[in-house]
Symmetry: C2
Subunit: 253 residues, 2 copies
DNA sequence: CCTTGTCCCGTACGATGTACGGTACAAGGT
DNA sequence: ACCTTGTACCGTACATCGTACGGGACAAGG
């Protein structure tokens, strides 16, 4: 669910680029690595909307079209950015499984690490929705995150399902968090400010008697979270329920 | 996590538009309702990327800039589209709570209905990531989905948390499904075709001994799902775990 | 009949990704 | 040492986007 096609029509080309060497310089010293890092810098600082080929080229001091010598197009560039960013996740493939607290502790570690990564690079959430980027770092991440689930009574397919469930949950809540940050940055209004500006209009236009449960619960939740939504709470609450559910699955064997 | 700012800087204006009358025609017969419906038609048929103001105007046989008389900008238009689409969800506010199977049956019903809605209008997933669209239909949806959770031993805040958890899960899996469909449409390759095209390159470039668990589990999952991922399975598996977790929360009271 | 306000919309501007073709450099063969 | 060939670089151009601006035309109130 990103914008245009998420990658060129040729998977072989994309894969070769992802797994190939990114440090071989052209005659002006330009490398794939440098392009990707510049792009990540821009996306981190100014958001994915500000990421344009012209902008990247300008930052590198090269002509815009020179980028196309090293990267087939923008979608391949964003794929490269995603794989590179996922490389920040774990120092070691064994990091999650080395965590205390068994599989549950490991999965909480995985969730937190992913959450923090998405907070650092919120633009990732606008890209990864499409077909997974099968790069080297993504593969390593998959291995690292599966290992703690191995040998605890789940089938291979269930291991994949559980991991997918947890990662989908983290992505979903991180997406909400990122959106809140973005709206706040765009409008200059904090979550509570925006809510305060909306409240009088809502009161005038919306009759609470038509929404008895919604208005009661919305009031309580709004008060508790100091805003329309609290992604951090959603993350931890949801993760606890999910892990309880997985534990139940394991126990019933 | 959509593109630009998700709505104008003025919440009051957006809310007034959402809750206002959409059927009052201008002197050429143009209405907000007609604009929104035309936009939805385009997004359904050609995707959100094909949705442009020019395109909408052309379909309605009016000048492009005439749209701006009725709608402040494109982001407000997409907000209107979302609220309108959510109106399709339930015929009656009591529909979910009238479902058999208690709260669990009701929540399964809610999940399936949302899932089907997103399959019908996949473009919604590219919009709703930002701050919730506080329109009339969204409010009604919130009420309808909260009711089955009322009076089953959850606090008000927990009711909101549980619903958020379920909806986030459905959105996340629906997003994957939508992405798969989009990639398939863009490239003309089915999931399995794409995988077959990638496999030889991956074999050459990726050493399975470095990813023992990942390659074993990936193999098993790929075989079971006939592709890199199976969103329908992810939806049902995840929902079962989540509801088990919620049941555990209720039971421990 | 004139004034005023509102609706309609043509033109224009600054973006975007990238196709195309030209230029200039580095390496290999003689 | 010179020529050939391939490839890296990049300037220009095009189609597309959202929408700011201002002018023209119609409806209603005085």
């Amino acid at each position: 669910m990103d914008g245009k096609k998420s990658s060129g029509t040729d998977p072989a080309r994309s894969l070769a680029l992802l797994w190939g060497s990114h440090t071989k310089p052209g005659r002006s010293g330009l490398t794939v690595r440098a392009i990707v890092d510049a792009a990540i810098g821009i996306a981190d600082a100014e958001g994915l909307d500000a990421l344009s080929m012209r902008h990247v080229a300008e930052r590198l001091g090269v002509g815009t079209m020179s980028l196309y010598t090293h990267v087939p197009g923008k979608s391949e560039l964003t794929d490269l950015m995603v794989d590179r960013a996922y490389g920040e996740l774990y120092d070691d493939v064994g990091a999650p499984s080395a965590q205390p607290g068994g599989w549950r502790g490991a999965m909480e570690f995985v969730a937190v690490r992913n959450w923090e990564l998405y907070r650092r690079h919120p633009w990732m959430l606008q890209i990864i929705t499409a077909r997974p980027v099968l790069g080297p770092n993504v593969s390593l991440k998959y291995e690292a995150e599966l290992r703690p689930l191995d040998g605890i009574g789940l089938t291979d397919v269930e291991m994949d399902s559980v991991l997918t469930l947890i990662l989908t949950h983290v992505e979903g809540t991180a997406r909400v968090q990122a959106s809140l940050d973005q709206v706040q940055q765009d409008t200059g209004m904090s979550e509570t400010e925006w809510w305060l500006a909306s409240a009088p209009v809502l009161d005038k236009v919306m009759d609470p008697s038509h929404f008895p449960v919604a208005s009661r619960v919305g009031q309580a939740a709004g008060q508790a979270h100091q805003g329309a939504s609290d992604p951090v709470h959603a993350l931890t609450f949801g993760l606890a329920r999910i892990l309880d559910g997985v534990a139940a699955l394991i126990a019933q064997r």
